[in-house]
Structures are given as structure tokens and as C-alpha cells.
């Protein structure tokens, strides 16, 4: 059956440690997803057997910065570079850094602001 989705809320500082634990237990990194609300909401998804879990952390819109998990999961570089280019979140210790050239967009950091945020969002669509 479709597994239940467990979301663990964590502090940004605990990210590396929790990720390393998943890696040790043989989980696969499924994706990293970022959402712009009144904060940036980052979700790291992991899977093993028929389980599907997420780590959720929140970052401020201004000067968002978080540790890279490319040490644990090298494949995360694609997600992290993408989030850097689209959202403007900085990842410290990124092992394969495109320095903002992963996606060249005509608007810089297009996802950094959301027009749909109910509180304080500017709707010009």
C-alpha cells in the first residue's frame, strides 16, 4: 500500500548529522525540495524498503544558508545547485559547485519570492 509520509521537523544545524544517520542505515536520497513561504521550507526525502520519510527545515528569506549534504550523498549536488540558482539559498561545502551556472535564467533567483503567499505576498500575476 502507499506508505505513510513521515515529516520530521529539524533545526538546520542538525541536518548533516541526521542525513549521515540515514546514509548509515542504507536509505536512498529521493529528492530535495524547496518552497518559498514566509520562510524557505526545505524538504529532504529519503526512502528504504517501503518507507518514505522527510526531513523538514526552515530558513529565513534573507541570507539563507545551510550545510551541503554532498559529503554524505554526492548525488545531492544536482538538487543543491538547482536550489541555489532558483531560490538563492547558499550551500556550504558543496562538492561540485556550478557557482550559479547550473541553470542560467533570465530572472535571477526566480523562485525566491512567491506571489501566492497569503501573508504579505505581492500579487502581480
Amino acid at each position: 500500500m502507499i506508505p505513510e509520509q513521515v515529516i520530521h521537523d529539524i533545526e538546520p544545524a542538525a541536518l548533516r548529522e541526521r542525513t549521515a544517520a540515514y546514509r548509515r542505515d542504507g536509505w536512498r536520497l529521493v529528492q530535495i525540495c524547496s518552497t518559498t513561504l514566509d520562510v524557505f521550507e526545505l524538504s529532504y526525502s529519503f526512502t528504504r524498503d517501503d518507507r518514505f520519510e522527510h526531513l523538514r527545515l526552515r530558513l529565513p528569506l534573507e541570507g539563507a544558508q545551510v550545510d551541503s549534504i554532498t559529503e554524505e550523498y554526492f548525488g545531492a549536488f544536482a538538487y543543491e545547485n538547482e536550489i541555489h540558482d532558483l531560490f538563492g539559498i547558499r550551500f556550504d561545502g558543496l562538492k561540485l559547485d556550478y557557482l550559479g551556472n547550473f541553470f542560467k535564467t533570465s530572472v535571477s533567483k526566480p523562485f525566491a519570492t512567491s506571489m501566492c503567499v497569503v501573508t504579505g505576498g505581492k500579487n502581480n500575476g
Binding site: S43, F77, S114
Partner: protein, 359 residues
């Protein structure tokens, strides 16, 4: 010889019709380093949720990619339906599964053709695409489209297919399946094909898992996994055994897809026979409020749709993590140290869909 040259692969390249650019640092014909760059096709369609309402967005979701288009539309619908707590009618579930499997069959045949073209076997390319046309006929007969179906809809499917049509389609698929078995033999046994595929692009089980490979790329490295086992749509009523190969090379990945086409053809027959009667659409009411990660199995592997609604007609976030995006790190790993002649081939063995990956 012996000196290093940089050979550009793409964005305009006959082997891969899609724009991906890889700088290949080559010594003689040995690839020392492969540096990809992306963004030639980045549209930013996820941002469109802010401009289109969530019903309308189904059509945008279908155009994430034109090859696995239907599954994108359906996955989006499935995610929204879960958020809105809608139970779709059983017949709609079965029809969705029917189209999913048709998508898989046509996508794999397309891929097989491109692979054959990449190793210079033009005749095989033509034969793969010839059989694929039969699958496209069935798709056209049941949805009206050839590559973009436009059949997904939140709350069910856009149009019903009567049972006679389903039966007629099953007959067509049976004839395509018979022709395909002949074709499969060539991929499985032909000396020159095996020369080009066996032992090329090795991806060990551990590397595949930790680099985050999905779909046939992961199954070709010996991991038993298939998101269809989770039983979305009508898959909980169908018996699915993931196809696993353990050789970890291009040949293994090729054989996984070959067997999956057979599996899909069988499933299509079964679905055509077992689809229950009933309505195909239930009108949803209200707006989505909440979030959900939907996981589906695309032809290229596991795909994730994330939907977050805030109770208005526009979603606050739609994100799709496509299988190709997840397969890029394993691809870089495989390209290291390969032969120049194998580059196109290895890139193709992950079945890249750059349009999916960059959205």
C-alpha cells in the same frame, strides 16, 4: 596523440536530439572527464502554478515532458486528489493504469530505437519505431492525441473509452507484442549489439543506490525496486514483479527495459479485459489545502510530485523531481573513463529526458 582535447557533446547533436551539453576532456579517445552543463531548456514551469488555477495546471503538468506526458499529468492529479481527499471512481483508476502502461511501452520502444541509432544500427531503429506506431495508434484511438494525451483530469479522466474499443486495442497490442518478441531477440542475442553494450557504463549496486539512481538504471544494477508496487491507481489489483538484472552494465539496463515492454503489453491486455464498469469522473469541490509527495513509476523511473495548496485556486508550490534529474549523478560516474565512442550510448542508457529534468 596522447594530448588532451575538449570535445563538445551537444547541445545540438545528432545522437541525442535534446539539448544537453557535455564537455568531454579526451585523451586519444579516452574520456578523462565529463562536465555537463544544463539550462538550455529550462522553462520554469513550476512557477506557472501562481498564474494558472489548479485545474488548468494539469495541462501544464502534462507538458513537463512530451514522452511521459500522461504520467506527469496523472501524477499531478493524484497529488492534488490526495490533498483534497478525493476518491476517484474505479473505472477511472483502471483507465489511468491503461494509459500509464501504454506510455511505458511507447517510451521504451522509442528509447530502444534511439539506442540502436546511437550505436549505428539504423535498421533496428526503424523497426523499433515501426512497432511503436502501433502503440501510438492505440493511444490515438483512446485519447485523441499521439504524444500528449490530454486525458488526465482532477477527479478522474477526461473521457471514457467504451469496452469494444478497449477490446479492439487489446488485439492491436497483441500483434505489436508478437512483433516485439522478434525485435527483442536482436537486442538480446545479436553479436554486434552485445559487443557495444556488454561491460560498457558499469554502475555498481552500491554506487547506483548512494548516487540516487532510479528506475531501470537502478534495476539494471540489481536493486529490486519499482514504485508501482506501492499500488497507486489500479496497480494494487495487478500483480507486478519488478524486472531486475544484475550485470550493472548498459546491456543490463537495456534488457530491463526490453522485458518491461513485454510486461507492459501483458498488463495492457489484462487491464483491457478487467476494467470495471462505472463512471469515470467525479467533480471535485473546493480548493486544495495541504501538502503531499506523490510517488509514481515513470518509464524512466521513480518520479516525485510535490503539491502544496493554501486553500485558494492557485497552489503555492508544485514541484516535480523527474527520474532523469536523479539519474544525472550516476551518469557522470559512468562517463568517467569511458571511450568516446561509448559516450552517446552511455548517456542514452539512463534514458535521458532533459526536458523533464530542467522543466
Amino acid at each position: 596523440m596522447g594530448e588532451r582535447t575538449v570535445i563538445p557533446f551537444g547541445p545540438q547533436h545528432p545522437v541525442l536530439p535534446e539539448p544537453i551539453h557535455i564537455d568531454l576532456v579526451v585523451e586519444d579517445e579516452h574520456v578523462v572527464e565529463a562536465i555537463p552543463s544544463f539550462g538550455f531548456i529550462h522553462r520554469g514551469l513550476e512557477k506557472l502554478v501562481e498564474k494558472k488555477d489548479f485545474h488548468e495546471f494539469t495541462y501544464v503538468a502534462e507538458r513537463v515532458c512530451g514522452i511521459c506526458s500522461y504520467i506527469h499529468g496523472m501524477g499531478y492529479c493524484q497529488a492534488v486528489e490526495t490533498v483534497m481527499n478525493i476518491q476517484i471512481p474505479p473505472r477511472a483508476k483502471w483507465l489511468r493504469t491503461f494509459w500509464c502502461e501504454l506510455s511505458r511501452a511507447h517510451s521504451h520502444l522509442l528509447w530502444a530505437g534511439l539506442l540502436a541509432d546511437a550505436f549505428g544500427f539504423e535498421n533496428l531503429f526503424m523497426q523499433c519505431w515501426r512497432i511503436r506506431e502501433t502503440v501510438l495508434d492505440v493511444i490515438e484511438e483512446t485519447t485523441g492525441g499521439r504524444v500528449i494525451f490530454g486525458s488526465a483530469k482532477i477527479g478522474g479522466v477526461r473521457r471514457d473509452v467504451d469496452n469494444d474499443t478497449l477490446k479492439r486495442c487489446a488485439v492491436k497490442i497483441a500483434s505489436a507484442a508478437a512483433e516485439f518478441e522478434e525485435l527483442k531477440k536482436v537486442f538480446r542475442d545479436d553479436y554486434s549489439v552485445k559487443q557495444r553494450l556488454c561491460g560498457i557504463g558499469m554502475l555498481s549496486r552500491d554506487d547506483a543506490w548512494t548516487l540516487g539512481a532510479v528506475g531501470p538504471t537502478l534495476r539494471g544494477s540489481g536493486v529490486r525496486t519499482d514504485t508501482r508496487l506501492e499500488g497507486y491507481a489500479a496497480y494494487n489489483e495487478l500483480k507486478i514483479e519488478p524486472i531486475v538484472e544484475t550485470a550493472c552494465d548498459s546491456y543490463a539496463r537495456c534488457m530491463v527495459r526490453m522485458h518491461e515492454v513485454t510486461q507492459s503489453f501483458d498488463l495492457i491486455q489484462e487491464i483491457a479485459a478487467r476494467t470495471p464498469e462505472g463512471p469515470v469522473f467525479e467533480k471535485p469541490s473546493g480548493y486544495p489545502n495541504g501538502e503531499y509527495f506523490a510517488r509514481l513509476e515513470q518509464p524512466r523511473g521513480e518520479v516525485i510530485y510535490y503539491v502544496k495548496g493554501n486553500g485558494t485556486k492557485n497552489l503555492s508550490r508544485f514541484r516535480v523531481r523527474t527520474p532523469t534529474f536523479a539519474n544525472i549523478p550516476p551518469l557522470l560516474h559512468m562517463l568517467q573513463g569511458c571511450e568516446l565512442a561509448d559516450v552517446g550510448l552511455i548517456v542514452l542508457t539512463i534514458d535521458p529526458c532533459i526536458s523533464c529534468a530542467e522543466r
